[in-house]
Amino acid sequence: MSEEIRTGVYTCHCGSNIAATVDVKAVAEYAAKLPNVVVSRDYKYMCSDPGQDLIKQDIREHKLNRIVVASCSPHLHEHTFRTALAKGGLNEFLFQMVNIREQDSWVHLDKPAATVKAMDLVRAAVCRVALHKPLTKGSVPIRADVLVVGGGIAGIHAALTLANAGKKVYLVEREPTIGGHMAKFDKTFPTLDCAACILTPKMSSVRAHPNITLWSYSEVTQVDGYVGNFKVTVTRKPRYIMEDLCVGCLECIEACVYKEGKFVDEFNMGLSKRKPIYIPFPQAIPQVPVIDPETCIDFKTGKCKKSCVDACGERHAINLKMKETTEIIDVGTIILSTGFQVFDAHRSPEYGYGVYPNVYTALEIERLVNASGPTSGEVVLRDGKRPKSVAIIHCVGSRDEKNNRWCSRVCCMYSLKLAHLLKEHTDAEIFNFYIDIRTPGKGFEEFYQKLRNEGVHFIRGKVAEVTDWAFDPSEEGKLVIRVEDTLLGFARRIPVDMVVLATGLEPHADAQEVRRRFNLTCSSEGFFLERHPKLAPVSTFTDGVFLAGACQSPKDIPDTVAQAGAAAAEALALIDAGHVEIEPNTAFVLEEDCSGCRTCIPMCPFSAITFSEETKLASINQALCKGCGTCVASCPSGSIVQNLYDDEEIFAEIEGVLSNA
């Protein structure tokens, strides 16, 4: 190689983030003495415009042809500095980044040791970068079609946004209807607008939109491919009613041999009964009933007169022989909006859920106060009586090391909302028991103030127990709350008729399976992990897959909708660009060295390597290669080379780290 290597090294202070623990000046002085280094500077903020200008200027003035920046994680600013190189007229891959913040200054306390570490890493980068070659980014076209997984408010909003932008959207929902948790709510906080009034029109738009294909009662079972070109398998469970033939008259339900509902109605949280053939709620989308084979007599015994089929008559929409089907679709991007599940109150036995009938979960109360709920909005206990006093216990299953340690974020506000609604419906005395009231949203604090003025009690203390232990006649027949009123400083016993548990939000039981299917990561509590908590909150580490709503972390409706819009916008940005740039880190075979042993072929998870019977050589399809480098490590003759992670580059880095200068 005739080219003279001229390296510039830039060490960042990051304000005091790095400089407090690493002697930045010493690192820069040290770097100046390393081989090939022509310029070595330190600067307060390398990622700022002046910082980047420094690089551009030096490339011109000092004819630099290699750049090393020692600052933060490449996951944060590698792109920034590569762009600076390009603008300075240098190939952007003649660059190496050194992570002396996340992996050095922030994790060590010993300043001399952290400084030595930074020097070692800079030396390694200087050694490595000398071997870098100019590369060109690859590019793959992006399919315009989008898959949205989960038809709650997040999925609905994302799907509509994309469809309105003219993109074809597949919306896949696991339940028989879209609408998610929001469809079960009565009112929404803090404005108290009716959940159905704002949700159902959007649900209808989904059904009517020419650009949306809605597959309810379906699940994504396999995802192959990569950004721009995913191949997705959707399994459609049989609902035993043909969606294209059904007109939604619901006469079949009327005609069922069960004259009354007999089975737990999941939508009403078990507070009412449904038939084996049912529609979850009157405004369900699609307006198509579903038959539950677990309870339908015909499925269980084969001996039903099938009055539902008769009722359907000429329309022939009921098909009891329907089988599970699969659809395979090609999409360019995916939005995951799979939502959350509610904490199971049985896991906090001190509150007597499942033991005392008048202990309810918040979601049960949502149905109870709902005009279209099991009691048509009349709030009555299980024995039909109207409660005169209600306790609402906050943080059930949240902020608790025994269950879920996180704050579920919406419970304070929905508890206030339920307190208001219960007061409105029953005029009962309402007691809220809280650890901290968290009302940091628009109009939230004002709502809290309104509730205080309505005479709702707020008692600061985590309830110790709910029992039917009657201390004296005033407590006879009641549920008794025992709690320390931490602000007044004494224990209290408060007898009530009804207890509402403000259960928290947690990841779905199968979140880990779903995560694997979409090649995502979960954060420690099990919600899907975003690419960056601040700068890329809806992106994931899998390009082309975006997150919306509570599958990422607990959030309320406004935040969910905002995030759904953001996810849709991210997808649109990719689609409108028409293509996505990819790292040129693919592997290729040096034909002159390949012995044709075929060791590499089974190594590739993407079947990118083929063996030519003619030439007896392996070759790698550059479009299929994802750059993992597994084949490179397996090649016995060393004839596979990986761009950006070539053997000699890595050896240089190892040597650089270990050689004590």
Binding site: P349, E350, V355, T467, D468, A470, F471
Partner: protein, 301 residues
């Protein structure tokens, strides 16, 4: 085949809780379970000891565990809730705190005792539930129950904080075992409330108040007797009823028995072997339920 266990009665079972010792031995014999009392066992290191000198309390407790490890029966049975807790706590702390493990290790070494290794500390109730099983209990229960339904009272230290077999906040094993033996129970919200422990002796007004609340709620729930798993609970609830009658003016007189007494009874042991004559409260009721029907049975034979 008989099953063998090491047995740690603890100090209470030699005096105020002697009926517990008698009935556990009788019950285990009926079920073909062998108890081998640890030779030269010492105080478990209980609550009060823990308040003075934590370090030597752990060593004291560990000596018993080490003796059990030597005895080579797989499990160490202790009926006293406090002993159960302290022994388990010792294992927990030895596992989690190297400094305590060291101190315990040194103490044992000085005594020429082997180190702690994997002895399981178990309570007779849990053995009945897990090792014997509800089916066998059902089959072994030969006497029909003629008494009133029972309030199962677990107290604190058996279920908290080291119980790994039953649910800590709502244990149900006692109810299930009694039910299998054909003995009815009532729902009892206070089943894991504290009996006051040694406060009955140190601050009688406070201790007895706690006893009173438990007794009263059991009666309100229609229980004819309270059944316990702990010698101190039994003592507190049993021995102060006369004082409580005097201070509250309420006619409280309810038998407080050990679960091993009622189960032993259901399985055919005689009243004396179970120490039923050692109860202080509810003597009349006990006579009616047990002694009378035992006489009946004898007359039949």
């Amino acid at each position: 085949m008989p099953q063998d266990y090491s047995y740690f009665p603890g100090c209470s079972l030699q005096s105020t809780g002697v009926a517990y010792d008698e009935s556990v031995r009788a019950l285990f014999a009926l079920l073909d379970l062998k108890l081998h009392e640890l030779p030269e066992w010492n105080c478990c290191g209980a609550t009060s000891y823990m308040s003075i000198d934590e370090g030597s309390a752990f060593v004291l407790s560990a000596r018993n565990l080490s003796l059990a490890a030597q005895a080579k029966h797989r499990d160490l049975v202790t009926p006293c809730s406090a002993c159960y807790l302290v022994l388990k706590k010792t294992q927990d702390y030895v596992e989690h705190y190297p400094a305590i493990a060291n101190k315990v290790q040194q103490g044992l070494q000085a005594e020429g005792l082997p180190p702690l290794n994997g002895v399981q500390v178990r309570h007779p109730l849990e053995i009945l539930y897990n090792d014997v099983g509800l089916d066998r209990i059902k089959h072994a229960s030969v006497r029909p129950w003629r008494g009133a339904p029972i309030a199962c009272y677990y107290g604190c230290q058996l279920v908290r904080p080291y119980c790994d077999s039953d649910q800590q906040q709502n244990p149900t094993h006692m109810e299930e075992v009694l039910k299998a033996a054909g003995i009815p129970t009532v729902d009892f919200a206070l089943k894991t409330k504290c009996c006051g422990g040694s406060l009955t002796g140190t601050i009688p007004a406070v201790g007895q108040r706690l006893n009173y609340l438990i007794l009263k709620e059991a009666i309100r729930k229609g229980a004819g007797a309270i059944v316990t798993v702990c010698p101190l609970c039994q003592y507190n609830l049993d021995a102060y009823q006369a004082d409580i009658r005097k201070s509250t003016g309420e006619a409280i007189d309810i038998p407080v028995l050990y679960f091993s007494q009622v189960l032993g009874w259901a399985m055919g042991a005689d009243a004396k072997a179970l120490g039923l004559q050692r109860s202080i409260a509810g003597k009349q009721t006990i006579k009616q339920w047990f002694a009378a029907s035992e006489r009946e049975e004898k007359a039949h034979v």
